[in-house]
Symmetry: C2
Subunit: 210 residues, 2 copies
């Protein structure tokens, strides 16, 4: 069965609609998705950024929030900006990594819905515990696994793997043949690629005189 890796970061705005959309889109195409949380911080730091580029470049930040508002509006899902932005995402990423399969996907969607749908702080342990309970996971045992040295080290390794795979932002889809598709707006294209459907001429082009 075709598969693809879905690399996402809990502080990333465009990872929110992507996390809600990817399940049905992948299922339609018969693609199995591996949910891979990672940290953008080290990847941004390698580019000389110590904050979200949407904060460093305010014009892009204004554009992004409006763009996201339109995307969420069209999807029929709420959008509420969390304060501060970006949210510290380390705890959520560790917890997601300590879960597996559907539980990881469901917890991740719940974190995004809390953070960007309701504007809730995701660095809060009580909030994370409540979201774990919602998914049917044991909050205490999961938090303990999440904060083990082994799991902390694994998140670092995963983040290095993301950079090596060519992940330059979040979300990214990485296919089995190593293609990277960056952005919520590339989900369909990336999943089509993963499924072996590479669309030809998706839209007409204007003829050029010779």
């Amino acid at each position: 069965m075709a598969s693809a890796e879905f690399w996402y970061e809990f502080a990333s705005t465009y990872s929110y609609p992507a996390a809600l959309r990817i399940g049905p889109l992948a299922e339609e195409r018969g693609v199995t998705v591996a949910w891979r949380p990672f940290l953008l911080g080290p990847i941004f730091a390698a580019q000389g950024w110590r904050d979200s580029p949407f904060n460093i470049y305010p014009a892009k930040g204004r554009y992004m929030w409006r763009d996201l508002e339109r995307i969420c509006g069209a999807m029929g899902v709420p959008l509420k900006r969390p304060e501060p932005f970006p949210q510290p995402s380390l705890l959520a990423a560790r917890v997601a990594l300590a879960l597996e399969g559907d539980e990881r996907a469901e917890f991740s969607r719940q974190v995004f819905a809390a953070e960007f749908g309701r504007g809730s702080p995701i660095a809060d342990r009580a909030m994370i515990a409540a979201l774990l309970a919602k998914c049917g996971a044991d909050p205490v045992a999961t938090l303990e696994r999440a904060e083990s040295d082994a799991n902390k080290a694994l998140l670092k390794t995963e983040t290095s793997r993301a950079a090596e795979a060519g992940v330059v932002g979040a979300p990214c889809l990485v296919t089995e043949d190593g293609e990277v598709f960056w952005g919520n707006d590339r989900l369909e294209q990336g999943l089509d690629w993963a499924a072996g459907r590479r669309r030809e001429r998706p839209s007409a082009i204007a003829p050029l005189s010779r």
Copy 2:
């Protein structure tokens, strides 16, 4: 009739597929497009950039070229990287601005096809003259108009207008009600918006447990 402004920059890679695609996409939706060439340089300079962000951030540059290769492949149009990149685009922008209506659109598509389809240098006056002749425009008279003080000043004004309209990169579509849609990948969405068709729930989302 619904209308939208198409802001583009001749040095911008994603403006190439957008320039080839926008005509048929706008026609399908009954939207009239005003082609508005501008210069990204001043807008990037305001963000502290003195070069293309795809050169400043090599990982993003590598991603962009592969992404563009896939986009052009799916469209069935050639892609050849011009050297140097980015190309100096001042002359082409002045010439495009000195033309009107369909002639401006056709000349612009020809410039993009030469630059990114064949990898040709677009700062070359003889090349620009040849492209003008291809479009049925008078090369000598057009170049003279393009390099008049009035036209040079107009390009500066247009670039300021782009920044004021919220254009943060190229290409951008700006609708009559002031919405900005940035990127080749937002053309359909922006033209739908311009035509008054704001899609509801473009794709299914995963249900969240409560």
